[in-house]
Amino acid sequence: MASGSQLEAIKRAKVLMVGAGGIGCELLKTLALSGFQDIHIIDMDTIEVSNLNRQFLFRQSHVGQSKAKVARDAVLKFRPHISITPYHANVKDPEFNVEFFKQFNVVLNGLDNLDARRHVNRLCLAAEVPLVESGTTGFLGQVTVHVKGKTECYECQPKPTPKTYPVCTITSTPSKFVHCIVWAKDLLFAKLFGDKNQENDLDVRPSDGTNSTNPTENVFERRADEDPEQYGRKIYDHVFGYNIEVALANEETWKNRNKPRPVYVRDVFPDKLILQNGSLEKNCVTEESAVSAMSSLGLKNPQDIWSLAENSRIFLEALRLFIEKRQKDIGNLTFDKDDQLAVEFVTAAANIRASSFGIPLHSLFEAKGIAGNIVHAVATTNAIIAGLIVIEAIKVLQSDFQNYRMTYCLEHPSRKMLLMPVQPFEANKSCYVCSETPLLLEINTRTSKLRDFVEKIVNNKLGMNLPLIMHGSTLIFEAGDDLEEDVAANYALNLDKALAELPAPVTSGTVLTVEDLQQELSCNINIKHREEFDEEKEPDGMLLSGWVAPTEKDARLVSNGESTSAAQLAEKSDEDGIAPARSGTKRKQSEMSEMIDNIDDMKPCSSLDIGDQLNPQEVEDNDDDDDDIVMLDENPGPSKRKKLQ
């Protein structure tokens, strides 16, 4: 039970919750029951059906409404006299500035993406408000406490950015199902149904390296009078047949790889009669939401793994349905995991490609999870984590910093512990976020444009939303909508210039200052010119260091869910995610926290066994007969993290 002094602190506290989803619902409920009386909650999302298995404050009738508002209403039902202020907004909005954050005693995160977490981390540091972070995936979860000056900030330990793949793997040499999904989603789907003006590598020929602008481009354009079914077969033959034949022509590529098999409609449906789907429900009610190739073909079970023929039927039927029933969507669609027809199309396309390359096929259920970056989630883990968050929050309110803990909820117990508390670490002295360490950027100042620097480094790596870039006292770039026309025009010009050609030229030895006023983060970057960069290992064409960078298994070029022409930030996932174990690396303390914070690599890691491989620092028992052993971390690792004293 909360003691008298705890109750006092709780009653007086003003708390900010960021996120009203899986963790948020459980957290709001527990905070209210625990006696908190002034809670603010920010969430930009609306309620979806798939939320209802765990976000228990919501009902079927609430689908489409604001999570923050509905959560508030639901909790007020059993605690009518407390104050809950909902914000149906993005936490990155300018209204949530440092002043806003300063009014709170503690901030509690229940977020589902890295980007927002970093943003909140910076604001909490700037406002000097303690932050309790958390994350869950399946049966795994964690809670961490971040207090400026006392512990690590959320970014002291690098968080791996989501997995991306080299373009050639996607366009020419897939070896895993996920490669086929990325192809189907970001190339084929985008080409057929997305913005026609977007760059698309679908017809890239690895042999000549040029983007094809020859007549075959017109294959994807459907003439107004072209029969949809015929068009579909033409597309099928082009991407699964012709394109493969072209790829096979380049012997080099296949020297050490299994050759793919081109697939044509006539191979799969030798007897043309079988092809006539005779859609079972062709003349039935066809509201957009009911348009489905699966229904049309009588394939009911999303868990089934379809044969090549079935996948092909789905592919053709889905394509036909898009054309016949959703014509107006064509040209401005992006893949949406909740768009049944899109999921069917992508699944089928990925499977046909997989079949070509000898990769095992997957069910729609599995494909949807991969394509949609779906994070698996259950209510129980969220409930456990919410309880732990409140326990930490109460300690924070009392400044009981000796007792702050990072707590891990494991799937398999480690030394009898299912819930494992660990002492927080001191701040990382080379953390550019909380320790103001300068960074080093190696870049070709003659060929790299300012735009590349802004997108790849400032936005992506540094996570700044509204940056300001200065060279000495000269402002060379500023983001924002409220700039004067001539100023904005000037910046636009700058963006297209190479660094060395800027009015205040940026060359080796230059120090750039990058700031985000909203996040109150300022960062100095030392520039060093370098001529060459390895395309595979350094696909960005620049290298940022001094900032402890995540290790990455593959060269980064294309990420699942993003356009092939830009490396963007983490994609939003449904729920807090977990990064998979990095093979070959011994798992350390730091990796634990990274693991649980971040977006899953695609496949659920239900068999992830963190406990066994960990050497945690066990927390001292505060008992009189202290015969418990405190295990010191024998391998403090390169960053030499120190335990809180």
Binding site: M1, L33, V49, A379, M420
Partner: protein, 323 residues
């Protein structure tokens, strides 16, 4: 809930959790029937979890009227006297829980569970008891053990910021996934009676202190004829005397049952710290889901949580664990 396949509705609603435990487990859950006797804060959390998970049937038993104390850790009941007056706790919780998932059948059962015949338990896959004296816990456990088909028993106890879960799965066989394939595992659980009869000095070293503290207070309530949770800090002197008696009889140093721990638990009485309810209810939910689905290593056989050190500890208190 007829037919073999999950309905479209179920598939859509349960999508995220099916990705955790699979369709088969979900189907098994939808056929399961759970009894919850005693609706304290932890039990209510558990019920919420099971309803969200899509259990087939949930039967509630708790005849008590709603009081201020009860409302403290209950998020299912609006604090409106006009609404709850004259109605029992189980009725109100039932109404509220139904709302969380219309596909789950939530019902109530009236009467004294400890008086029911054995056959009553046959329809349940699992029985969860809380707000329950040791005597009654044991009696219910025995009844469950005598049924032809296994009826799992879970007993939860939450005193302030300390919690305990006891699990009895009797003889439990399940498939364990290993890196090199699968293996059949067999676990033999002791009854509550058997477990707590194990001499303290025979237990593994460094068993959670919460275990001993719970046993002392349990014994105290028994000998003083108190209702479960009917303790206060003024009972400390008597408790300390009992502690000495028990520890002497068990040849165990009293330091295994720290005064500070007993104080906290006594002072709380029957009150529960809501974050502990959430944590315990979550762990219990996971365990019951594992047992019903047959997937995942079940916890054997005690779980302890204490906010003082923040550890969630599993203790195997059975003859197989003694030296």
């Amino acid at each position: 809930m007829d037919g073999e396949e999950l309905t479209e509705e179920e598939t859509a609603l349960y999508d995220r959790q099916i990705r955790v435990w699979g369709v088969d487990a979900q189907k098994r859950l939808s056929k399961a029937h759970i009894l919850v006797s005693g609706l304290n804060g932890t039990a209510v959390e558990f019920c919420k979890n099971m309803v969200l998970a899509g259990v087939g049937n949930l039967t509630l038993m708790d005849d008590r009227p709603v009081t201020e104390d009860v409302l403290q850790s209950n998020f299912l009941i609006p604090p409106d006297e006009a609404y709850y007056s004259g109605r029992s706790l189980d009725e109100l919780c039932c109404e509220s829980l139904k709302d969380f998932n219309p596909m789950v059948r939530v019902s109530i059962e009236k009467g004294d569970l400890s008086q029911f015949d054995g056959e009553f338990f046959d329809k349940f896959d699992a029985v969860v008891v809380s707000c329950c004296s040791l005597k009654i816990k044991k009696a219910i456990n025995e009844k469950c053990r005598r049924r032809p088909r296994r009826v799992a028993l879970y007993a939860i106890e939450c005193r302030g910021s300390c919690g305990e879960i006891f699990i009895d799965l009797q003889n439990y066989t399940y498939i364990q996934k290993k890196s090199d394939g699968t293996a059949e595992c067999q676990l033999k659980y002791p009854s509550l009676e058997e477990a707590i009869s194990i001499p303290w000095r025979d237990l593994p070293r460094k068993v959670s202190k919460v275990y001993f503290a719970m046993r002392v207070i349990e014994r105290f309530e028994l000998s003083e004829g108190r209702k479960p949770g009917e303790t206060s800090i003024s009972d400390l002197p008597l408790i300390l005397r009992l502690r000495k008696e028990l520890c002497d009889a068990q040849s165990l140093s009293e330091s295994h049952v720290p005064v500070s721990l007993l104080e906290r638990m006594l002072a709380a009485g029957g009150k529960e710290h809501p974050p502990v309810c959430a944590t315990l209810g979550g762990v219990l939910g996971q365990e019951v889901i594992k047992a019903i689905s047959g997937k995942g290593d079940p916890l054997k056989n005690f779980f302890f949580f204490d906010t003082a050190d923040g550890k969630g500890i599993i203790e195997d208190i059975s003859n197989s664990s003694t030296s």
